[in-house]
């Protein structure tokens, strides 16, 4: 089931990139799709961690939320960079990730890094080390708002 | 108007290249080099629109993939001194 849906997505990706519907290209796409599926299966890549199909519905609400967070954090970094007097307060801290799966923790870590102003510099089990451009960014993460949102995303909400 | 965007990206490229040249650490150079790659992707796309040939996005897409691999390869080499390093061997 997972393999078939992955194959369909791969073939649609081929069609979107090619944009031509000649028989030769359609068959070529089908053959490449099948070859990629074969090698991916051989490498045991198609599992719940690297192809999290069950998270796709939840992503449709998580990504807009994350986008808004990125815009807010990016504006804060812009103001910090453009301030006439450079008075940034770089801070390092540790936060606990409450996600239960490796994919969930990776999502949390990458979300932290993707929002400008905070970077995940290390992962040790479920403890993330974070570097923040300003003290406020580090404190926000310690309060755990984003962590709770990612945990909700991981459970499919 | 696309020309204005091209000019902005080129101005940013100049600033970033200054950082590549100044360093001071290797990581500053790698970071700035990666940013040059990102700006090249953006520049290719906007130039494609400027010249009325949006197909150039395909080149930008390829460049993005190569940029990722290149940067990660440099970082891995700096960290382990070996491109074939296997993280599993450290724990074993």
């Amino acid at each position: 089931m997972r393999v078939i849906s992955f194959g369909v997505i791969l073939y649609l990706f081929w069609l979107a990139l090619s944009g031509y519907f000649k028989p030769f290209l359609l068959i070529g796409g089908l053959l490449s799709t099948l070859f990629v599926l074969y090698t991916a299966r051989r490498m045991k890549l198609i599992d719940a961690e690297s192809y999290p199909a069950h998270l796709f519905p939840a992503a449709s609400t998580y990504w807009p939320w994350l986008l808004w967070e990125i815009i807010k954090a990016g504006w804060a970094v812009t103001k910090a960079v453009l301030r006439p007097k450079l008075d940034i307060t770089p801070t390092m801290t540790r936060v606990i990730a409450t996600q239960t799966t490796p994919a969930g923790i990776a999502t949390y870590g990458n979300s932290i890094t993707l929002t400008p102003g905070t970077i995940t510099t290390g992962v040790d089990g479920n403890i993330l080390t974070v570097h923040a451009l300003e003290r406020g960014g580090a404190v926000d993460l310690e309060e755990g708002g984003m962590d709770a949102r990612v945990s909700r995303f991981e459970k499919g909400g | 108007m696309f020309a204005a965007a091209v000019l902005a990206v080129i101005a940013a490229l100049v600033l970033v290249v200054v950082r590549v040249l100044k360093g001071p650490t290797l990581f500053d150079r790698v970071l700035a080099g990666n940013t040059v790659g990102t700006l090249a992707i953006i520049l290719l796309t906007v130039l494609g629109f400027l010249n009325g040939r949006p197909e150039w996005i395909d080149i930008a897409l390829t460049y993005g993939v190569l940029n990722l691999i290149g940067t990660l390869a440099i970082l891995k080499f700096v960290r382990h001194g070996d491109l074939a390093h296997d993280a599993g061997e450290d724990r074993a």
Binding site: I70, G74, I127, E142 | A12, T35, G64, L75
Partner: protein
């Protein structure tokens, strides 16, 4: 139609603004970790707004889809590279310039202090 055009130019201008700010920050900020924040501004907001504007210009075509792919590629690879870079820099022994080091906050018997409590001075 004119409204849509204006919106797209506004987005492109915003993208250019964030790209320039990111590049400027790359020069201005003091060490590699803070510069990485500035570089991620280009990856996310700069490219994001600019490509959103271009998508409106391209309309509902294959070009818009490809722009979306490039944007997704940037959004997925950006954090990976930044994380790898920061981790490698820390492991090589580069010390970040910090105003405050709160890394010890989880050490006390596993209970975290109140978020607004004073961290340990570095």
């Amino acid at each position: 139609m004119i409204l849509l055009d204006a919106a797209s130019w506004l987005l492109i201008l915003a993208g250019c603004f964030f790209i320039l700010v990111g590049a400027f920050g790359l020069l201005r900020l003091p060490d590699v970790f803070t510069r990485a924040h500035s570089a991620s501004l280009i990856d996310t907001l700069g490219a994001g707004f600019l490509f959103a504007g271009l998508m409106i210009q391209a309309g509902f075509t294959q070009v818009t889809l490809k722009l979306l792919f490039v944007l997704l590629l940037l959004f997925f690879t950006g954090p990976v590279i930044t994380h790898a870079l920061a981790q490698a820099a820390l492991q090589i022994g580069l010390k970040p310039k910090l105003a405050e080091d709160r890394r010890g906050r989880l050490d006390e018997a596993g209970t975290a202090p109140a978020p607004d409590g004073q961290g340990r001075p570095s």
